[in-house]
Symmetry: C2
Subunit: 347 residues, 2 copies
């Protein structure tokens, strides 16, 4: 066999990520050993195998994935790491599952400071600890300069469904109460404010947070939960419309009942955006049987992340899949989900 | 609330992916409905929920992830779609697991032809069918022109570990036989040949293929399987070195026993590469108890993907974590895993 070609040896202590960090050699292992393994400190990662082998119990599984491409990587209230973790944890919670395990796949643009990776990994670790989950497997790839945007981060999550309910749009029935866990629009406006250089007196912080605890508490309390949905991309408008369409029902909400903070409302006015269409990352909508609505709100208000829970509407008969809203001045209109990208790359 | 800003409406039938396709609105749903849902045709996807809820049985789980950033997207013998699926399926198999479910997260550069996405999705579907797995959940993000390279694709996989063995480097013992499932270097050289514009008489095809079937057959036959590893990035050299280091043993192989096809050998000579360091995507190394080696080879040779299985070496006493090789002319040397990127972005 031919000898390996002699390449210039990349500096082992480069403060910037090099293409060589993605090659499967010593530099990649060093990056993993020095940045990712200490950050997540998990025996499943220390086994250094291609996948993690994990106990799961006798339950059904929930499985979900997110690609995070937010720009900038850091914003008030979060960063791409906490966003990826909470996004995946919350998607599992929306299946009524207890989040257990996360994977993390990093696509890094050559030239990203290694220190940035460390900050992202540290933020992910705080987020997984807060959510009670573990990062158990991962992958690291490096792409050429100009072929990325610093860092893209894909997470997948596995959770245990510890009940027999089928939570989803198909379970929604006319008469169900529509609950919202708190005020909307913080995440989208926090990112947009940074990106557009808007200097508000009070910076808007993303609501990025895990919502699994109040969801599991609803289920433990025996609340008849029909469907759960987190209003991320496309905001509350898209979340409600998707459920209405798939469930084949009409959903009606009251604008006056939907909490929007003053800073978010102000920023939306400046940018000409509708808060209903702005992403949240720590909120969810719960469709519950009408008779359980008050009890559900009491449960939700016991958790800081959903302390602002309120009832915003009702599922109505009508298979048209529409979402209607009564405005603060009493007029009723149809909520239209936009055709495209109101706020690019906010998650 | 302020009315939604009136944006120019993007054309719904654009043949190119637009930023608007990533915004959570109608265009994104149309892309998902017209490209991804038909391609994967799975009830879990039709539920249109944030995550999939799935039966798993009483077994331990295997969980793994891959980010695929191969360039070009299509190459002889495969493409980014089949590569992502087989990479994840094979990582599950390396844990001794039966692959069950896959997630797929697409990071698409604005301007990618929708037709390219269709081709990738169709290729993924062929690959998941061949491997007997299902794509059950996904995510779609679009990044600005110049901030990607067409398409990055992250897959995660869940499998069931239907046995009580702990397969991994920690189980490797001196005396174990080192088996290789076929010839090496096809995938890396197939990609490099396209990228470097090398015109070989016989194009080299990637070995990209699922290897779960022969792995499960080994386990079903009761072969004492100690560790499994697929020689992807960094090739056979990196795979053996990683196992030797983590296991704390010495691994010795015979160069004459390691199959390399003539086209791969020739291409490696042209490019000055060592076939031992070139990635495979349809091969694996099995460390098995010495007494089971012949039986294991007989099992492997019963499957087309591992018909070329052979014994290449032995685990020796010695906690130095080194891999040594006896060359075809009889000299013994240490295999060094390169420090960095011999072949960037081949997976």
């Amino acid at each position: 066999m031919t000898p390996a070609v002699v390449c210039p040896v990349p500096p082992a202590d480069s403060p910037l990520v090099l293409l060589a960090h993605g090659g499967g050699g010593r530099l990649m292992r060093r990056l993993i050993d020095e940045v990712f393994r200490p950050a997540f400190a998990d025996p499943a990662l220390d086994a250094q195998h291609d996948g993690a082998v994990l106990p799961a119990g006798p339950h059904r599984l929930a499985f979900t994935t997110d690609a995070s491409v937010v720009r900038p990587l850091f914003f008030p209230g979060g960063d791409i790491g906490s966003l990826a973790v909470n996004g995946t944890v919350n998607d599992l919670a929306m299946s009524g599952a207890r989040p257990l395990y996360l994977s993390a796949a990093f696509v890094i643009e050559e030239g990203l400071p290694v220190e940035t990776l460390r900050r992202v990994a540290a933020s992910m670790k705080l987020a997984v600890d807060a959510a009670g989950v573990r990062v158990v497997t991962g992958d690291t790839k490096v792409v050429d300069r100009g072929k990325g945007d610093g860092l893209y981060l894909s997470t997948a999550g596995v959770g245990a469904v510890e009940h027999d309910r089928d939570i989803g749009p198909a379970a929604v029935r006319p008469g169900d109460a529509v609950l919202l866990s708190g005020d909307i629009g913080r995440h989208g406006m926090a990112v947009m404010a940074v990106r557009e250089g808007l200097g508000f007196e009070t910076p808007i912080e993303s609501d990025c947070a895990p919502v699994a605890a109040p969801v599991l508490a609803l289920l433990a309390a025996g609340v008849d939960v029909r469907c759960l949905r987190d209003p991320t991309r496309g905001g509350l408008a898209a979340a409600l419309t998707e459920v209405a369409e798939v469930a084949g029902v009409r959903v009606h909400v009251e604008e006056a009942a939907i909490p929007v903070s003053e800073p978010v409302r102000g920023a939306c006015e400046v940018l000409g955006l509708d808060p209903l269409a702005v992403a949240c990352e720590g909120r969810f909508v719960a469709f519950v049987a009408a008779g359980d609505a008050d009890r559900a709100l009491a449960v939700l208000r016991g958790y800081p992340v959903s302390a602002g829970a309120c009832r915003i509407g009702t599922v109505e008969a009508g298979a048209d899949g529409l979402v209607t809203i009564t405005s603060t001045v009493g007029t009723r209109r149809i909520i239209d989900v936009g055709s495209g990208e109101q706020l690019p790359r906010i998650c």
